[in-house]
Subunit: 521 residues, 2 copies
Amino acid sequence: MNSSAGSGGEMEVDSNKQEIFQRTKNAVLVNGVILNGPITDSKAGEKFVEDACKIIMEEVIQKAADVTEKVCEWQPPEKLKKLLDLEMRDTGEPHQRLLQLCQDIIRYSVKTNHPRFFNQLYAGIDYYSLVARFITEALNPSVYTYEVSPVFLLVEEAVLKRMIEFIGWKEGDGIFNPGGSVSNMYAMNLARYKYCPDIKERGLSGLPRLVLFTSEECHYSMNKAASFLGIGTQNVYFITTDERGKMIPEELEKQVQRARKEGAAPFLVCATAGTTVLGAFDPLDKIADICERHGLWLHVDASWGGSALMSRKHRKLLHGIHRADSVAWNPHKMLMAGIQCCALLVKDNSDLLKKCYSAKASYLFQQDKFYDVSYDTGDKSIQCSRRPDAFKFWMTWKALGTTGLEERVNRALALARYLVDEIKKREGFQLLLEPEYANICFWYIPSSLRKMEEGPEFWEKLHQVAPVIKERMMKKGSMMIGYQPHRGKVNFFRQVVISPQVSREDMDFLLDEIDLLGRDL
Amino acid sequence: MNSSAGSGGEMEVDSNKQEIFQRTKNAVLVNGVILNGPITDSKAGEKFVEDACKIIMEEVIQKAADVTEKVCEWQPPEKLKKLLDLEMRDTGEPHQRLLQLCQDIIRYSVKTNHPRFFNQLYAGIDYYSLVARFITEALNPSVYTYEVSPVFLLVEEAVLKRMIEFIGWKEGDGIFNPGGSVSNMYAMNLARYKYCPDIKERGLSGLPRLVLFTSEECHYSMNKAASFLGIGTQNVYFITTDERGKMIPEELEKQVQRARKEGAAPFLVCATAGTTVLGAFDPLDKIADICERHGLWLHVDASWGGSALMSRKHRKLLHGIHRADSVAWNPHKMLMAGIQCCALLVKDNSDLLKKCYSAKASYLFQQDKFYDVSYDTGDKSIQCSRRPDAFKFWMTWKALGTTGLEERVNRALALARYLVDEIKKREGFQLLLEPEYANICFWYIPSSLRKMEEGPEFWEKLHQVAPVIKERMMKKGSMMIGYQPHRGKVNFFRQVVISPQVSREDMDFLLDEIDLLGRDL
C-alpha cells in the first residue's frame, strides 16, 4: 500500500479511505485510520531530497567561493514577506513548488559562506564540517546515551581530550553546548556549585550575595547568565580595562576586596580571551594569581580567541590559560566547524560536571544496562536531546590535521596584519587601536570630514557615516561588515578575518569599497 | 594560486612556501604566510561534498525505509574505539580515506530513522525537514538579527504565529530553543521575572524562598532548571498523581497552601501534557483554576504532547491549554521536524520575553540600523548564535499541510491503540496502564514466570527480564525499544509510536520479537 498523494508524499486518508480499504488485504482500521503498511512514499521522498541537494549544491556550495555573487539580496521585512510564500495552509504543496520555495529561501538568505561576508565572528565554507553536518542531519541522533549515540559520544570524548591537551591540562572533562553563551552559563553554575554544593538543592534564597568579576569588554552573555542563574546583573562586577580592552589586574584585586568588605561572597572571575568587539586578551597569568590568592574559580571565555591555541606562533596570546578552572572555546568561529560547535572544558576530573548537573532520570540513564554506563554522558548537560556538535570539528580536524588548523589561524592573523598596515597607509582610514587578534576596528572618514577638528561636531558626524555605508553595501550586496559604537567611541567598522577563501585581494576590495560607498558623505 | 595539497584540500604553506612565492606575481608575505588568492581548493571541496552526499543518500536515506536493515550494529565502547579511527593527527587525511570514515561513522551509528527504532520520543525520516536541515547547514546562518538572517527570522515569526493559534491564544510571543529542557528553563525564568522583575538585576539572595509546583511524573528538566536558575531542587514541590500519572488538582491546592504557610513564595505551576514515561496529560483546566485563584504562572510542558493540538480528534487531551501563560512544544518529536525543533510560546504580548532576557549588546543590536529593528529578535534569547530550527518544521508543514500533520498524529495514536489491543490479547504481555497517548508501557512475562504468584520474588525476577531482552535485541540489531523502572514499578518496556513509516506489521513484529528474544528467560 505504498501509495501517495501527489502533494505532500503522504496520502489523504480521509478522502479515499474506503477505496483503499477495499483494495487492501487484511486491512486493519482503527479510529478511521488504516494501519497496514507505511503511508510515506519513500521513493518520492528520496527523489525530492536528491532534487533539493542539487539546488543546494549549485546555489549555495558552488557559489560560496565566487566573489562575483552577491553576499545578500537585500529586501526590507515587509517586502520580503510578500516575496516569500510563508503561509502554512491546510493542504500541502507539490514537490515542484517546494523546490521553488527552496530556491527562494536560498536566494534571499545572506550568504555567510561568501568570501566577503565579514559581519560576524564566523564566515566561510568548510567542506569537511559541512559533510559531517549533512551526516548528522540524515542520522538525526541525540547525544545522551551510548546506546542511542555510540559513535558520536566517542567522537565527543576524543575531541574534548585533544582540546584539553591544547589548553595545557593533564586531564579534564567537558561538554559541547548550543553556544558560547550557554558554555559561560555552565561555567558560572559550576563555579557556584564548587563554591557551595548545597545551592543545587537549596537555592540562593537566604544566602549571602554571590559576586563574580569580569571585564567591561566581556561578552554580553555574562549579564544574561547572571540574570538567568538568579545571581543578578548587579552582582557582576565589571573590571576596568586598559586602552587595548584588557582587564587591569590591579582593578580586579580592588574589586574583590570591595566585594569582601561589602559582605558579599566572591566566587568567580571570568576572563576573556578574545573580546567580541576589540579582540582583546585579558592577562590570564596575572588574573590567575589573584584567583589563587582569593580562592576564586577562574573561567576563561575563549569562545573567540581559543582557536589561537592551535597556532604555535599565536598561542602566547592565551599565556596562562592552563591555570583556568574552565574554558569556553567555540571551534565554529575561526576553525569554521559550523554553527554551533562550542565546548565547555573543565579542569576538574572528579566528576564535578556530573555531580553539578545530574538529575538521574531513570528512563534514560538506567544503571542495569549491559554496557559501561559511564559512556552515558548526557546527564552532564542541562539539555535532554543534544546535537553531536563535536563531530563537525572532528571531521575538519581529520581532514586538515593539526597543521592545517594551525595554518588557518596563522593565515587569518597574517591577513589581519596586512589589513592593519593598509589602513595605516590609506588616507581617510583610521585605526581605533592596534589589534591583537583578527578584529580590526577602524573608522572611515569621508573627505568632507578630513579637515574638520576632532571636536563634538566631528564625532557626531562621523557617528553617522558607518550606518549609511552599511546600508549602501547591503543594498548593493557587495560585502557585509559590522559596525557599532563602543564605550564612548562613535560608530566604527569591525572587520573580522577568518576564512581561507579570503585573500589579500579581498582586504584591498574591502577598503576600496568602503571608500567608494562613502566618499560623498 | 588556487593550489592544494593532496591531503586536506589546503596547501602546506610551510614546506613549499618559497617555491610558490617565486611563482606568484605580486605575492604578499606577512609573518611567513602568503596572502594572495584563496588557499582552499574549492573544486576538490565540492567534489568531496558530492561524493559524501552520495554515501549519505545510499547508506542513510535510502535504507531508512528498509526494515530488513539493522537498526544498529552494536559494538561495546572499547571495541568500537578500535574499529573507528578517531585519533586526530598532525597531518590531514586524503579524501578517499575521509569517505571511508564517513561510511564507518554511518555504519556504527544507530539508525534512528529505521521503522523499528522505538527507543525515544523521536523517530523516522521526514524528507521535507531533512531538506530544510541540509539548506540550513549549507547556508550556516545564525538567527539573531534581520540583517544576517532575514528569511529565517520571518519563517520563525510565521511558525510561532501558527503554533500560537493552535494553542488557542489570540496573540502571543515565542522563541525556538535548543531543547524542551531549555524551553522549560525559559518559562521558569519568565514566570520568576513576572513575579518580581527586580530579580533580573538583584538576584535571589535575601529574597523569600521561591517555590514551584509540578507533578511527580514531570520531566527531569524541572529539577535541572530549578537547580540551574538558583531556585534549588528542594523548592520544586512535587504533586501526587493519580493511577494514570495525572496531577491531582486537590493535591496541588494543598501544596500551594502549605508553601504559603511556610512563608515561601509560590510563583509557578508546571503542568505536563504528555509525560515522558507514561504519556499522561495533567488536567489543565482544573489546574488553571487553581493558578488563577492563587495568581500563579501556569506553564505547560507539552514538549511531547503538544503535537496532539494538530488533531481535531485528539486535541481534547490538552483541554484548557489556552489558559496557560506559557507552553513548551517540540515539533521534533511526533511531528518529526528533526532534532532539535523546540518552541517556547508565551501568551503575554507586552514584550515580556524581551524585557526579561535582553542585554542590549550594542555590537549586534544597534538601534540606528536602516530597517525596522523590531525584527532583530535575538535579544529574546539566552543564546547569542542560534540555529533556525523553526525552518525545518515550516518546510514539513508546507509539504504536508495542516491536514497531513493531523493525519500523522491520528495515525500514530491509532497504531498505539492497535498495539494496546494486541497486548491485551497476547499471553505473556501485560499493560501497565491504559494509555492516553502514544506511550505504551507493558511487561513481557516469560513463560517461567507466568504461573508464579505476583509476590516479591516475581517482581524481582520480572525486573531482570527487560534488560536481558534489550541486550539481545541490540546485539541482533532487529529493533530498539526502551525500558525503565518507574515509581515502584519494576522494569517495563515503553513503546513509542511516531513515524508514518511504521505500520501494523511493525507492531506485530515488536511483540513477536520480544517473545522470541525472551521466551527462554
